[in-house]
């Protein structure tokens, strides 16, 4: 079936640096993507979304980029903080989620 997946399983960054988490998808008909953050022991929480008629969307300290040509998404976190340590998933609800990228922030 169609899939949504992440490139790297783990990412370690220094506190204050920017983080970039990547995601690939296979269904060219996908038109709505969401990034979720999941902290240990909790369910996933919405961070930011983007529709296929956009190529960039910004939130508070986060930016999502969408490249439909290569079917690729990225989540950029500015000035990464220890509280950003979590697993990050990209998703299109019906296509599913990848295994997630575990982000560790080094103080």
């Amino acid at each position: 079936g169609e899939s949504v997946g992440l490139h790297l399983p783990t990412l370690s960054v220094q506190e204050g640096d920017n983080s970039i988490i990547n995601c690939a998808y296979s269904n060219s008909a996908s038109d709505y993507f969401i990034w979720y953050k999941q902290e240990s022991g909790k369910g996933p929480q919405f961070i930011i979304d983007i529709r296929s008629n956009m190529d960039k969307r910004q939130g508070q300290r986060v930016t999502v980029l969408l490249n439909k040509t290569v079917k690729h998404l990225s989540l950029q976190i500015a000035a990464t903080q220890p509280g950003d340590s979590a697993v990050y998933f990209c998703a299109e609800i019906r296509s599913g989620f990848g295994p997630g990228t575990s982000l560790s922030v080094i103080p």
């Binding site: 079936g1 369910g43 996933p44 529709r51 998933f89 609800i93 019906r94 295994p99």
Partner: protein
């Protein structure tokens, strides 16, 4: 504050038991989903429902069934629990329309012994 509530955080059941996992949402959402989450495999869709009494199979429906008798409640049923169904189960709901953000419950960690 929006809320998706799963009835149990932790469950331990014996092989062969029939298991019910309950999920309730208070946002009047049309869509509800059941996922299981396993290390290295991410979230995998078991079943989803887009309306009362309507259901569709996800990626891994084998060994599971679902029930949606009321809009706010979506139940996942393990007909005869097996050890390979030990997992974290997550329920989610979303509305139809332009913004289909899914809201998740806290999860139920099921152990089948």
């Amino acid at each position: 504050d929006v809320k998706v509530t799963q009835s149990s955080r932790y469950l331990v059941k014996r092989t062969g038991e029939k298991v019910f996992l309950e999920c309730v949402q208070d946002m009047d959402h049309e869509n509800m989903f059941w996922y299981r989450q396993d290390p290295g495999l991410g979230l995998r869709l078991i079943y989803f429902s887009y309306d009362v009494k309507m259901k569709e199979k996800g990626d891994i429906p084998e060994g599971y069934s679902v029930s949606r008798e009321k809009k706010e409640r979506f139940s996942l049923i393990l007909e005869s629990a097996s050890t390979n169904q030990t997992s974290m189960y997550l329920c989610a709901s979303s509305s139809t329309g332009p913004n289909t953000e899914a809201f998740f419950g806290q999860g139920t960690r099921l152990t089948v012994v």
